[in-house]
């Protein structure tokens, strides 16, 4: 014992980096495999074949956002304050109907303004938005 303390073995003179190697290799694997992809989007359905909607029994409400930033629902102008009431009227709470609207926006407007309108509709409980 005494001899050991006086003259430590030369073989053990370096730091043991094996655990560090283990940790870094597993971190590496972790980064390779589990980088989560979080994509946040607003869904929008595209119109399908011309005949598809011809035989439809119930017409979905049409929301139009004009270049003057006015909102029309089924041809009637709706102000921002009236919108929640109008949406509630179209889709009564508790009704089993699909909460779907068709949306048309003026091409001159900025994309972010259109997204803001879609966002507001979504906030008020519209589930599906068709774009045309």
């Amino acid at each position: 014992m005494k001899r050991h303390r006086r003259r430590p073995s030369r073989l053990e003179s370096s730091i043991n980096i094996t655990p560090m190697g283990d940790v870094s290799l597993s971190l590496l694997l972790g980064f390779l495999v589990v980088t989560p992809v979080v994509i946040e989007t607003m869904g929008a359905n595209l119109p399908q074949g011309a005949g598809a909607s011809a035989g439809q029994v119930k017409q979905d409400p049409v929301v139009v956002f004009t270049a003057e930033r006015k909102l029309f629902i089924d041809g009637r102008e709706v102000s921002a304050d009236e919108l929640p009431a109008r949406i509630a009227e179209l889709f009564p709470p508790g009704a089993q109907t699909e909460r779907k609207v068709l949306f048309t926006g003026a091409g001159e407007l900025a994309y972010e303004e259109i997204i803001a309108v879609l966002d507001r509709l979504r906030e008020l409980g519209v589930e599906t938005i068709g774009v045309r």
């Binding site: 980096i17 094996t18 560090m20 190697g21 870094s24 290799l25 971190l27 590496l28 980064f31 390779l32 980088t35 992809v37 979080v38 994509i39 946040e40 989007t41 607003m42 869904g43 929008a44 359905n45 595209l46 119109p47 399908q48 926006g105 003026a106 091409g107 001159e108 407007l109 900025a110 994309y111 972010e112 303004e113 259109i114 997204i115 803001a116 879609l118 966002d119 979504r122 906030e123 774009v131």
Partner: protein, 124 residues
């Protein structure tokens, strides 16, 4: 006992490279997307979906490849092949006129995509 110092060096360097590069690759093309309060999270195999990006200056990308307006439809159809029925993600810059996005939607529709997902940032 073999000397494992070099392998640790390599692993650490790779680790650092992946930490830096991975988010950039995953994010795709850098586009200033509009903000929204109620975006939905797309989780179903999102990395397999086709991402159509349009930057502020109108530069178009299908996934990570730069495309021309004239070749857009072909390139998009090529990338979309085999995923009929799934949405195409449109990543558009917030300040673009909406007509540009409408044009892209039309192209998506013409190659048979039933819906598009408009990428938005979650508003804090």
């Amino acid at each position: 006992m073999p000397d494992i110092t070099p392998i640790v060096n390599v692993a650490l360097v790779l680790l650092i490279i992946f930490m830096i590069v991975m988010p950039m690759v995953r994010e795709g093309i850098d586009v200033d997307t509009p903000k929204a309060k109620t975006p939905q999270r797309l989780e179903e195999a999102a990395e397999q979906l086709v991402v159509l990006s349009i930057q502020e200056d109108g530069a178009l990308y299908v996934n990570l490849t730069r495309v021309d307006k004239s070749t857009l439809k072909d390139q998009l159809a090529l990338a979309y092949r085999g995923q009929e029925g799934s949405p195409i993600i449109i990543k558009g810059a917030a300040h673009l006129p909406y007509s540009e996005i409408l044009g892209l939607m039309e192209v998506c529709q013409s190659i048979g995509a039933p819906s598009v997902d408009l990428m938005a940032k979650k508003e804090e």
